[in-house]
Symmetry: C2
Subunit: 195 residues, 2 copies
DNA sequence: TACGTCCGTACGTTATCGCATACAGGTACG
DNA sequence: CGTACCTGTATGCGATAACGTACGGACGTA
């Protein structure tokens, strides 16, 4: 099923270049790629090297990953409150409820989940350390209660309203030290390898 | 400053391949790229074509944009509740309060913001349509109240607890039709073009 | 009409990407 | 000890990416 996506970047480059009101030679100078090359790339007559593609992207003031991401499908997808896939994560972790709020689409770049942590509870636990794909990045926003983020040997206390951003490919977990229940939202981006 | 990022993809590919416990020939078969080529790419001795890079990514069960995005820096960054940059967005939009919860770091892949919309209020409004960078993708999670997402000519009603995912490079805005105040969180990913 | 300038594209050359094959270094088995 | 197999890497050659140059065409101006 993994059909080799036909790198449609060509038309996209042309559209972006024209949107910035640049000629081929203008972009050639900005990017360090010759104008004829740009023409061929735009018409799909050639498949540029990563470095030249990167130069083209940078000439368009974009990252190559950003440029490539433009040619990925997507529309509007709604998950209703009653359709939220709720569950209790991990066998050893009592008092931890996870609700995944984003649909399980392939190519999804962001996963949003709501976590409810009972007093004293821990996400994952020592036996099952939450650690995402290489390159993953996580944003956590504390809604209610207090938390400790333990990551890479360090412990960061968080209060309600705090927001933390960190690399999720490091082994980490959240603890609820306080007497009250804690709720937080987690945004995990990238590294969504389908299992 | 737009230093041509030295496509570090090589070591990353090797790390991912080894993480999946694949040999060069295994990945060669899965991706349709010869094993020697993979070796050269992994050691940075050559810069693959977009199509071959795409094949490699697909062999790793990733999108090329996902693969490339892995090489962006970051660590742990906390925004305290009292440090949240609060503001009233747009001149013409009364009743709309925005709190940006993520730090303004370059290379940030995700921006998390909390929005409070008074009854009848609209985000942005017709004069200032919220529309993000090409390739942007947005996730919105309704916390309280009801909303309408108007995007691309269509109107999607949302209730508390609903979560919607859509392409943010389309012109769009949120409306609060109900009698009550509405609160929602917005996650905007990618499309952070340095101005 | 004729000129200068800009546009995007077709030409021919060089550098290099990408493959098939062959090699050196490990480990397991008879 | 050799055989068989695996790993990742070094070779040689065909295909092609990328360059500099040069061309047909469109527009403005004299």
């Amino acid at each position: 099923m993994a059909t080799v996506e036909a790198a449609n970047i060509g038309p996209r480059v042309r559209a972006l270049r024209e949107a910035m009101d640049l000629s081929l030679r203008d972009l050639a100078e900005r990017s360090g790629v010759s104008a004829p090359m740009l023409s061929q790339v735009e018409r799909g007559e050639t498949s540029p090297t990563l470095v030249t593609a990167g130069r083209i992207a940078s000439g368009l003031e974009l990252t190559l990953s950003q440029l490539l991401r433009l040619d990925e499908s997507g529309s509007v997808s709604i998950v209703r409150a009653q359709d939220v896939r709720s569950g209790w994560a991990g066998t050893g972790s009592r008092g931890h409820v996870v609700d995944v709020l984003t649909p399980p689409l392939p190519g999804q770049r962001v996963e949003l989940s709501r976590h409810v942590l009972a007093a004293g509870a821990v996400t994952g636990g020592a036996d099952d350390p939450p650690m995402h794909e290489p390159g993953s990045r996580e944003v956590a926003h504390v809604q209610r209660g207090a938390l400790h983020l333990c990551i890479d040997g360090e412990r960061h206390p968080l209060a309600a309203g705090d927001t933390v951003t960190f690399d999720a490919d490091l082994s980490h977990h959240f603890e609820n030290p306080g007497p009250d229940e804690a709720t937080f939202l987690a945004v995990v981006s990238a590294g969504l390898r389908r299992s």
